[in-house]
């Protein structure tokens, strides 16, 4: 024999499972139905039915719990409610941006702590002299690109579902498609910024993060974020740790070998000119070692460089911005002739240009001595970076 109360509760649970109304409204509806079932059962008992039969009959009269829940929910879906749902979605998305940022910040901070500990223990996770780690700081934006739009979309779906009474499954796919589409158009075709491969990858992750956050939402009466897949959190944590390790190591300018030699680079740039210059010297002033470099040489005595020719300001590509200077190739990437002004100084400026992947250069001045050999006059200084590539992601991807 079944328990009438258990039957009633089971029925109401099924209604509750399909109702998808805000908690307070759902409670009212369920209370009303509970009251109805109690009244109906009492009436049937007074007509001679047993409590079990009466409860069963009263439940049967209310009909299929899913249909009843759908009917009530649909009845309450007014235009005002849909507008409220849209508003709630915007508010939830805004709070999601904050919580997503906070989560990503917490993740990267934790990764930073781990990275700092590793560095303080002398553990070099990344080989700093290898090319390619420079955009380490940009790697730190990956968790933000995923979690900020992801949280916003997730909370938006939950809020719209709860407010409108529509199941999450009917909201998440269109929202994921539209939201990701809008973000993709914005971040691929419209937003112009300094780009490199990591930044391009990060920009492409933003719509992915939004779509992922929307699709991870599950049915429920509230907009709580469900558990994120652990492997993703771990993967992003590891990436962040590696990035921060590289960033911290670069900031601290740790030289793992304890050496800082210019010999190799200098040999390729030109032999040191000290013995050629004799008792004289060169005073160099630099007009900034940014993307555009300028150098002003003042020889002492003024006739020190008489007989010299083809004085140049040169930019030599180097492997990396810290560690041993190792110039690449046997020729400078860019060179500018140094012109002598009326005061006897030699000056030149050069621009190392734009690169899709940031490159680094050392700056040196060289000249051909009366004996016909090219000598290094000053430098190498720097390193200086190439100018960042600016444009949209689409332009970046389609430009050779």
């Amino acid at each position: 024999m079944s328990d009438p109360r258990a039957d009633r509760d089971a029925y109401l649970d099924q209604v509750a499972g399909r109702l998808r109304l805000p908690d307070e409204e759902a409670t009212d509806v369920l209370d009303e139905l509970r009251s109805h079932l109690a009244e109906s059962a009492a009436g049937l008992i007074s007509e001679g039915l047993t409590p079990e039969q009466a409860q069963r009959e009263s439940i049967a009269r209310l009909g299929n719990p899913g249909d009843l829940a759908d009917g009530i929910r649909t009845a309450r879906q007014t235009r005002r409610r849909l507008l409220a749902a849209a508003g709630a979605g915007v508010i939830a998305a805004t709070s999601g941006l904050f919580w997503g940022w906070l989560f990503a910040a917490a993740l990267t901070t934790l990764a930073g702590v781990v990275a700092t500990i590793l560095i303080s223990l002398g553990l070099q996770i990344l080989q700093l002299s290898s090319p390619g780690w420079q955009p380490a700081t940009d790697l730190l934006s990956i968790p933000f690109a995923l979690f900020v739009p992801g949280y916003a979309a997730h909370r938006m779906v939950g809020a719209i579902s709860a407010r409108s009474g529509r199941p999450v499954t009917t909201i998440q796919r269109p929202l994921a498609l539209v939201g990701a589409g809008v973000l993709a158009i914005a971040f691929v075709f419209l937003v112009r910024s300094d780009l490199n491969p990591v930044k391009v990858f990060t920009a492409l992750l933003i719509p992915v993060g939004f779509a992922g956050g929307a699709m991870l939402a599950r049915d429920g009466s509230s907009a709580r974020l469900r558990r994120l897949p652990g492997r993703w959190v771990v993967a992003i944590f590891v990436i962040a740790t590696l990035a921060i390790t590289a960033f911290a190591a670069a900031t601290l300018e740790i030289n793992p070998t304890g050496e800082y030699t210019v010999d190799d680079g200098v040999a390729r740039i030109g032999a040191p000119a000290l013995e050629v210059l004799g008792d004289g010297w060169l005073e160099q002033s630099s007009t900034g070692l940014g993307f555009t470099s300028g150098v002003d040489l003042t020889p002492t005595p003024p006739n020190l460089l008489d007989g010299w020719r083809d004085l140049r300001l040169e930019a030599w590509p180097v492997v990396d911005r810290v560690g041993p200077i190792d110039v690449l190739g046997d020729e400078p990437a860019v060179a500018a002739p140094m012109a002598r002004d009326e005061f006897g100084s030699y000056a030149a400026e050069l621009d190392v240009g734009t690169a899709k992947v940031q490159r680094w250069y050392v700056i040196a001045t060289t000249g051909i001595a009366p004996n016909g050999s090219r000598y290094l006059l000053t430098g190498p200084d720097g390193p200086v970076p190439s100018r960042p590539w600016t444009g949209t992601v689409w332009e970046y991807l389609t430009t050779p």
Binding site: V29, E32, S35, A38, G63, L68, A75
Partner: protein, 112 residues
Amino acid sequence: MGLDTQLLKGTTPLLVLTVIGDGELYGYEIAQRIRESSGGAFAPSEGSLYPALHRLEADGALTAVWRASDRGPRRRYYRLTPKGHSLLVENRDRFAAFIAGVRGVTAGLTDV
């Protein structure tokens, strides 16, 4: 005589507004009143009664308040708003016109 479900569904709001009238009734009571006053001819599915009540409330035709019951859980009592009264008159006229039309047609058929 059982009535067509669709026909009954269409008339449920009118029946609900009519039995509530100037009073204040709760869901189960409304269903009972409809059943009794129609002599059992109209027995709206209780499953369709609540969606109808909530739709009328959402449309502003009904207002609801909770009141304690001495016989069990609290009850939700419904009352017509001014808009509900207007809707009742409007639906009643429309239904009367509909009945008159149907009657005219069916009377003609009987003559044939």
